[in-house]
């Protein structure tokens, strides 16, 4: 549902970071905001609870230059990961053009990742969208925990659990350190904008 404004020659693209609670979605956006500060004109918007958890969403808009004479405005959103906030998750998904699924590599969160991905599929279906037809990148976050001796799932296990049917591009990452955070973002932008090229003629 990317919005093309033929008068201003501008395209707005909505990319949503999805995944289980405390998985690092907000941390991804915070890192991007810090790292690309010079190119981001607007402040990052966050709607948080008192406990510093995402209540509604985080929002980070920025320009990525021109494609076929159109300026591209990318808008990054996160959803609240906690199970009870499904209604707000669905609201944020409305009109999504591209998805990043941020999985938590911690051993303990294996089940949560699978459930969250299932929840994403179901929520997309309420908008008549299929996860198989929507640009998607998987990110296996918190790889840095291994250095601290915390048990984490192997990338192979995560791939089998989450990506065996989707076969989406995936990145092992550490949002706290920033490892592969820009790579994840660049990949999803490339996939999403790539699917727009035809439309722009």
């Amino acid at each position: 549902m990317a919005l093309i404004n033929p008068k201003k020659k501008e395209v707005q693209v909505k990319i949503v970071y999805y995944g289980p609670g405390r998985g690092g979605k907000t941390t991804n956006l915070e890192y991007i905001n810090k790292r690309f500060k010079k190119r981001i004109q607007n402040e990052m918007v966050t709607v948080k609870t008192y406990g510093d958890r995402t209540l509604f969403f985080d929002f980070l808009p920025f320009d990525i230059g021109e494609i076929k004479g159109h300026s591209i405005k990318v808008q990054l959103y996160t959803v609240p990961g906690q199970v009870k906030y499904n209604a707000t998750r669905r609201l944020v998904l409305r009109g999504v053009d591209g998805l990043v699924f941020v999985a938590d590599s911690m051993d303990l969160r294996r089940e949560m990742n699978i459930r969250s991905l299932q929840n994403l599929k179901e929520n997309l279906e309420t908008f008549n969208k299929s996860i198989f037809n929507t640009p998607l990148v998987l990110q296996y976050n918190k790889r840095d925990l291994e250095e601290e001796g915390i048990p984490i799932l192997s990338v192979d296990t995560l791939q089998r659990d989450l990506n065996s049917r989707l076969k989406a591009p995936s990145f092992a990452a550490s949002a706290v350190k920033g490892d592969n955070v820009p790579a994840t973002m660049k990949k999803i932008i490339a996939l999403t904008v790539g699917s727009l090229r035809k439309k722009l003629g």
Partner: protein, 130 residues
């Protein structure tokens, strides 16, 4: 990729003219026509203020969705009109058609009653164009 509502250049220009005549000339600070995904379709300002319209639109779409969910809980389909009053500036939301919202930001020099009337007129004129 699906596109819900597409606008051509002429439609956008006609909508801009309507919003200019009905609302900006009346003295409102800014008007934003947006979709419920949070995309900005048209944005006009009176020149006195510059708002971060993209963030405003993202939050407004979320806000509208949340209030619609509240409406459902009490047995209403939706609340098609919302109004947030501030000390100096206020925001008025009006649904235009399914998926489209008109946001008007105005100060105390504009009366709410008159604004509502003008918003209703603008909405009616825009509906014909879409």
């Amino acid at each position: 990729m699906d596109f819900t509502i597409e606008f051509d250049k002429q439609q956008i220009e006609s909508i801009e003219n309507i919003l200019q005549e009905e609302l900006v000339d009346l003295g409102v600070q800014s008007v934003i026509l947006m979709d419920l995904a949070g995309n900005v379709i048209v944005n006009l300002e009176n020149g006195d203020v510059t708002h971060d319209v993209y963030s405003l639109a993202a939050l407004a779409a979320g806000n509208y969705g949340a209030v619609s969910a509240m409406a459902n809980i009490i047995g209403e389909q939706e609340f098609s009109l919302l109004f947030h009053k501030g000390e100096e500036e206020s925001i008025h939301f009006s649904k235009v058609v399914e998926d489209l919202l008109l946001l008007t930001i105005f100060n105390k020099n504009v009366s709410l009653g008159f604004l509502r009337l003008k918003v209703a007129e603008a909405v009616k004129r825009i509906q014909v164009l879409i």
